[in-house]
Symmetry: C2
Subunit: 402 residues, 2 copies
């Protein structure tokens, strides 16, 4: 008898029919003799609807109250899924994040899991109950509800798999697995049977929106094998696992991310500590900075260019304006850009990968604004209008149709 | 500085505009220097919508999962009201039933409050926060969410007022107070400035749907003065309080209840213990019986007639059928009936009240099926079609326009 953790996202439980479909996947697994813990997100557009309701009343609600509001979303979906499972005739119990023992930090909106007190889940499994757990949520030391941030249900699932040493952690989505590129847009894109944690991390960060980054980090840390698969059919998915057991591919996939804003600050004094102060201010506001480029201008001043997510752009500009005495036009912000990246664990031992990527872009006449590289990733920042063409060209260069 | 508990029902927070209205009532009270605890129900039709969603999946969901589902309703409304109060600029914190310390029995769907651990509420008041509490809900000894049953938010408010020795408990509704009869239907019906707990209890039980019965019982037990008033205007409401401080009125009001089913059982053996066995079976199923009439038939068998709420009728018939060996036509159930009642603490010392009521009905040619009396109440069971005429006639007889 194995312990299997299954996670279903909002679109997988968007309506009664889909909830019944999930219930049937879950009960099939249970009836094969397995212990099953199911993690669910809020139904379909519930979270967005709730956010809209909040903004009708208050354009800047506190994050604590926002978490109080949003956690109701998963509460409804766990209850509904439990009812659907009852209907099929299997014993089931639904648990909220705090009931399942999710203790988190106190940062409302983006809390991190500190520990899982799994007694209740274990007790329910011992009673042979299917356990349906509300993803995305937990409780902090003040006994207040917190959320793990968007995509947090993946993290909830992996955390449970780690805490209870589950035999498998299945993340059901509306795609069949992880692809070499977006199959709706790139001809020749194909499903990967497996991928390493590191590659998946780069792809997740880079906008291949299959798995939440934190969940992959956690899976890597606790060595939880994740299977990404579709709730809509029975095709085999993609296994995300430790790289040491896998063949290294030069390039595993090509990703596009359009949630990028580029902020340029010119005319900063060329003295030590300027960059530290600038990025310190952003860190205080919990703004993640991605690519950074720093250069010294001709007049001896510093120019600093960096990228953040679009949602943080305004806040970042404001932070800099209020901390530095700068001319009105010294800060510019461009959101019509995209980041295109190739990811592959084989890259680190294979020189010339970058130049091959740049060549593919050059041949398509696509201008590169910024470049960023890691051991297993190369990213370029380009005009958003060129992004799809860029992905296709790069995909063709590295992953030609077999 | 006074501590004021205010309760707002679902229709008072049905949309953004009304939530803002409630926020302004609450913050006005707070800014006058008072400590304020606000109890809210789920918004408008939320509860009904959730029940419908549940039934789409499972026509007989477990009560535990139903409570898990429904408690999300108040969770959303406390968060939204807190955001509206933040918008106005007052410090506020929302608390779920379990966070506010509501420990209940384990009967899902109709749990009773066992105790309130008020530490958190007190701590928040000490920080000068307005405390918004989710009504209708609590937690049982298994750490599972429970609901107090429909109208339970009134009980939540009174329980808080009792636990924290509040100076006032205001129940805001969409009517201005308690009336001598339904003002939409009875000419000359007027608002009562005050009413005793016992009178209110009889009226609440009898279908004057202003206050939940349990809440009045609890208010009486802990001597909490309740003020019933409208959230839509500033008119003074009705005070519900201890009768010893009040003038006794012969008849305080006339109520109509159409949620009545009359079940007749004929041909029961005329042996001791038959009634005990019958009503014991109903009690086991937690079916409340209201009026009971027992007579011995000509052939020496017993006939028993009683009333229950419509929702319990089918269950009651089933209970009797499975416990007694009766002819197919020995049990009949009639739901086209209504109960009309007069209530007044002065009645007990004033003979002739019943005959005056019967006379008023006789003059309207209304047939009386069953009669039930208590010290402060007289109820008659009549044809549902006659109910409104009966209320008007009785109201005119006892409470003529001033």
């Amino acid at each position: 008898m194995a312990l299997i953790v299954q996670k279903f996202g909002g679109s997988s439980v968007a309506n009664a029919e889909r909830v019944m479909n999930v219930a049937s996947i879950v009960t099939d697994t249970y009836r094969q003799g397995n212990d099953v813990i199911v993690v669910v997100s809020a139904q379909g557009d519930t979270t967005d609807d709730l956010i809209e309701k909040a903004f009708e009343l208050n354009s800047k609600p506190s994050k604590r109250e926002m978490d109080m509001l949003l956690t109701a979303g998963e509460q409804m979906s766990v209850a509904l899924l439990a009812m659907a499972i009852e209907k099929i005739g299997c014993p089931v119990v639904s648990l909220l994040g705090w009931q399942a023992g999710f203790n988190t930090t106190s940062t409302y909106g983006t809390a991190r899991i500190k520990s899982i007190k799994a007694d209740r889940m274990k007790a329910e499994l011992d009673k042979r109950n299917i356990v349906v757990v509300a993803g995305f949520q937990g409780i902090n030391k003040y006994d207040d509800l917190t959320t793990l941030g968007r995509g947090g249900s993946d993290t909830s699932a992996v955390a449970i798999a780690a805490a209870l040493h589950a035999d498998r952690c299945q993340i059901y989505t509306d795609v069949e697995g992880v692809y070499t590129a977006d199959p709706r847009k790139v001809e020749g894109a194909r499903k990967l049977p497996e991928i390493t944690y590191d590659e998946m991390l780069e792809l997740a960060t880079l906008g291949a929106q299959v798995l939440n980054t934190r969940s992959v980090e956690m899976a890597k840390k606790y060595n939880v094998e994740i299977e990404v698969l579709s709730s809509l059919n029975k095709a085999s998915g993609t296994i995300v696992k430790d790289g040491s057991k896998m063949e290294k591919m030069l390039v595993r996939g090509v990703a596009k991310d359009t949630d990028v804003a580029r902020i340029s600050v010119t005319g900063m004094p060329n003295t030590p500590g300027v960059a530290f102060r600038l990025f310190g201010k952003l860190a205080q506001r919990k703004i993640n900075v991605d690519i950074i480029l720093q250069s010294v201008g001709r007049d001896g001043t510093k120019d600093i260019t960096f990228t953040v997510s679009k949602a943080n752009a305004e806040d970042a500009v404001e932070a800099i304006r209020s901390s530095f005495d700068l001319d009105e036009d010294a800060i510019s912000c461009d959101t019509n850009i995209a980041k295109v990246s190739i990811v592959g664990a084989g890259m680190e031992s294979h020189p010339g990968t970058a130049s091959k990527m740049f060549e593919a872009l050059f041949e398509e006449d696509i201008n590169i604004d910024m470049i960023s590289t890691s051991e297993i990733k190369i990213s370029v920042l380009i005009d958003a209008n060129d992004a799809d063409r860029a992905v296709s060209a790069v995909h063709k260069a590295f992953l030609p149709e077999e």
